[in-house]
Assembly symmetry: D2
Homo-oligomer: 350 residues x 4
Amino acid sequence: MSLKRIDVGILGATGIVGQEFISQLDSHPWFNLVWLAASQRSEGICYKDAAKWHLSTPQPPAVSDLIVNASVPDRAPKLIFSGLDASVAGKIEAEFANAGHTVISNARNYRMESDVPLLVPEINPEHLELLPRQATERGWSGQIVTNPNCSTIILTLALAPLQPFGIKSVNVTTLQAVSGAGYPGLSSFDMVGNVIPFISGEEEKIETEAQKIFGSLKERKVESSPILVSAHTTRVGVLHGHILMISVGFQTTPNQNELIEAFKTFTGQPQTKRLPSAPTHPIVYTDMPDRPQPRLDVDINNGMSVTVSRLRPCSVLDYKFVVLGHNTIRGAAGAALLNAELMHVDGLIV
Amino acid sequence: MSLKRIDVGILGATGIVGQEFISQLDSHPWFNLVWLAASQRSEGICYKDAAKWHLSTPQPPAVSDLIVNASVPDRAPKLIFSGLDASVAGKIEAEFANAGHTVISNARNYRMESDVPLLVPEINPEHLELLPRQATERGWSGQIVTNPNCSTIILTLALAPLQPFGIKSVNVTTLQAVSGAGYPGLSSFDMVGNVIPFISGEEEKIETEAQKIFGSLKERKVESSPILVSAHTTRVGVLHGHILMISVGFQTTPNQNELIEAFKTFTGQPQTKRLPSAPTHPIVYTDMPDRPQPRLDVDINNGMSVTVSRLRPCSVLDYKFVVLGHNTIRGAAGAALLNAELMHVDGLIV
Amino acid sequence: MSLKRIDVGILGATGIVGQEFISQLDSHPWFNLVWLAASQRSEGICYKDAAKWHLSTPQPPAVSDLIVNASVPDRAPKLIFSGLDASVAGKIEAEFANAGHTVISNARNYRMESDVPLLVPEINPEHLELLPRQATERGWSGQIVTNPNCSTIILTLALAPLQPFGIKSVNVTTLQAVSGAGYPGLSSFDMVGNVIPFISGEEEKIETEAQKIFGSLKERKVESSPILVSAHTTRVGVLHGHILMISVGFQTTPNQNELIEAFKTFTGQPQTKRLPSAPTHPIVYTDMPDRPQPRLDVDINNGMSVTVSRLRPCSVLDYKFVVLGHNTIRGAAGAALLNAELMHVDGLIV
Amino acid sequence: MSLKRIDVGILGATGIVGQEFISQLDSHPWFNLVWLAASQRSEGICYKDAAKWHLSTPQPPAVSDLIVNASVPDRAPKLIFSGLDASVAGKIEAEFANAGHTVISNARNYRMESDVPLLVPEINPEHLELLPRQATERGWSGQIVTNPNCSTIILTLALAPLQPFGIKSVNVTTLQAVSGAGYPGLSSFDMVGNVIPFISGEEEKIETEAQKIFGSLKERKVESSPILVSAHTTRVGVLHGHILMISVGFQTTPNQNELIEAFKTFTGQPQTKRLPSAPTHPIVYTDMPDRPQPRLDVDINNGMSVTVSRLRPCSVLDYKFVVLGHNTIRGAAGAALLNAELMHVDGLIV
């Protein structure tokens, strides 16, 4: 595809999501990473000295010598990925959008705003039609697009193939990896040989974000889906990879094999438009009963596919099944990257 | 209480549940441990040499020097606790029951038999009325009483206070400790930094056993409860303590505070009859949102209480909450001991 | 022993060592905990609301309602235990000593000062004779006594019985529990399925502190022991309990059985003076080859004994062996408590 | 290099080392995997059904459909990699060697035999000259070459650059990953939040094997090196990657910078002969003080390099430093593969 290669930058470049952005953008065919920003403490320092590198893949040498900038639009490139913490993302992302930048954000701050797309490219690409409202209603010359919370992306991707069968209700329990809490995140004192059955604010995010993602677009407004979602969230001693145990109720009970077939054949715009980060199959369905497991399966298709198994009848709702997704790739940096790729190919980054 | 002190023995004395039996029986006011049996390999050897001791509490010295017997009734005492593996429990437990012993079993083999009580003393003590059928129908001069699977006990104890409000359906996801799989159980290769979203046969056990436990007794038969139970089970890197994330639907939605009050005030026969192993409160309700946690709370009331927290509305069923129980104590050895204590005080061990 | 019961206080009461102090002081026969202090954030608040309780033993109810004080001498009792962080301990502990308090400190700040005892009561109780120099040289009306770094205490206790045989050199590698780093301490992101072969400043502390502890007292000065100590330190995913792999070289190679006998029979002043926190045997020698293990053995004798095993010839030095000790009890709060008990029985708290 | 591509087989193909062999041989430029053998239980079954796949890299599809053979020479190819367990390796490997096969073994059985090379290609390639003795003394038409125990390889590779400076003694403590114990290996019950300071037989293997590897070849005999080696071994909750904490004494204390330079510039025959599995640098020296860590560094150079850090003075011996190596790659399957590559390029597989 002969798309123009464009410069990109990263806000929150030293955090775990920021580092995953750097890793995902290394050798990207369309995006050229030229600009990094982080908190005041890192400003003016070489990236290699500013960040404690947390990934097992080496830091790209070209990035190591970039000087970390202040988080101001100034000479930042047009396209900005934001891995900012929610405590500062609200203000900074708005400044960039106002200054004409396209902000592809992983932060939660604008996700539920009525004029901001909460995008999962395989599911609701049409929600990008909300964008013009940001100019009209906020006067921004730029724009903000968000991806959902890590658990919500994994959940909604796994539900998307089942949507045509008429989902009525969803009960989900998550077993979430520690990388989802950022760095330093959880104390090892709390996690050694332990699980914590509580993640502050997480259940509400999953429930409301899922309804927006599956919402229908009418006259540039998203009407939330009436699907009932109930989430239980827990933290477990896993590095990367959220496991979701899901039960689903339908308007009318569908055929089990048809659901499995729907998982296996599911695709969306990222696949038809051959976006660089899009996996051929967003969902991998496995017949191995004790899989997926974080250690063995989290990196399938570079962490961009979710793995589903054990679809079986549920005696309370209709069916239940197991899902695994990579929380910092498909659930964060990779999700944002896919959003940007879709917008770029659609000519929405201007 | 001036109850006669009686001799007891243990089948499967070298396994994890067997060791927990030994620990629980140490200094027991009613039961005097005099007899141990294990597989052929251990026969005739001192217990301290036969068993690799897995508990952090020291092995009781009086037990260390007991000689391990073959698993035959011979000179075994009347009251026998069985921590046998299901692969051998069926045959051995029947031999003991046939020979006139009362077998208090933790194995799954007889749990669903129509003439065998599946007992949780706080919930269904009247199921002991099934026992005479074992003499009539099987010709046994002894008897077998079983306790449920570890997750089922913890689940049903947490549901019991809500039963009077009319439970219709239950969705539960478990995060189960590795000690539930026995020793050596799961490979550390599989568990380091991992979770396994599958435990063979576990979901079926939880679903069917819960219905029997809540079943009503009519003419010496248990009619299974119509409560719908759907279970998702996972294994996590925790030593002791199963976490359960539970959603419950009712005939009519009850008041939230009344449910919490029901948790706090719940008691049963073990409490009124002051059984030695009975906790004052079978359920501890905590207001701390990030609790219970296995590391911090599993040993509450010597592992005999389950801890409940975060009862809150569920958007799919009616309410949801978090539960923790000690799987090898309240979920196994301690449960069997409580069964035996109830039977002893009721004069059923003859 | 008819010793006067005295009031005590804790500096740094909300941290992990502070909490362990509270736990150890619960029902103490000589010391009555009446005063707690912590950082400004906690001042004026009930302890139960100021501290996130990290122990699996319940918070003593009498402590829960104590109001947390500022870290100033004011109305603090005479005897003060300090679990302060090194960043603030220097200044605050001096203020208390200057104001007439006896400060029993776990912080590293004064450990290597020439007029401050670095005390392990079984090893160097005579170092308390340094105390009068604090009045003379610093003008303090009170005094500071310190206990060593957690690894150093465990190391020196295990070496003490071998001292009479003429130790020349010691090579030790530690596998240290995460609780040694305080709370939140290490990120779970760094510790899941990982070990970190580096603990900042730890190796130096072990090497220098051990030499002071084994130093000889001459005219109120401690002359460091010429024993050569080389330490390698690592952090592992264990909650409590440091493992030490030790090789020792002697002036002349002693007999192996005599060394083992020395471990088994070792005692010191805490034992002869029957201090309340003193274990009967400061060292437990076990013949089980795969022991000690943190999970199984760390709580032996309430965490106040260290366990030694596998004394065997070393082909480089003379002998090597394995040691385990509880880092927050014998290695911190329990160590300080034992120091205070020795001083109280010796009439040094005035 | 225009080397003839040859067929190879694997003994013990379903174990962890066998699986690593399969993974390492996938797309190998010289070796073509055509034959697999395992225990009777797997005989005649498709590999994909015979083996529980433990690696996170997918099973090569070409291997999945190979039928597992009995462990007899029959139609096995000339070159055989053995990942057999020591309990059976002795007999089976001899049968293959006797039948004319070249057995590249990871088992311990023949390592210390005087006519069998214990090979680390960067260190002692000349030990291959022992091979003709196997024909003379045993009458084998084939031959056996072994690689050392995982910890020994990592240790000797790290010592090799220092050898020219005159090593006199070595004290090493290992923190070994669970994958080194095979599958199922250690029970998760023993490893959750625990470390085990004992690995049966491991310390002896390290001490004796290291002396043979550094031994000098004289008239087709290896004279063991007089270097004194003392090993302490422990097991930690890490999946892959052994950490070694090493102290080294020299005849004369060398210069610190020269040692670091020696690490950085070390190479051997695998590098000069450009063997396909040889890393450019067998040793990576890092300046980051808290590295290497298993999670971040174990896969450096596809797991074929060991990482060294923190070379610093040791107060007992001369210098001490930290080493990490991948135990199932450089410490097992990759080591054997490198041995085979060296022999192939040297024309020793006939």
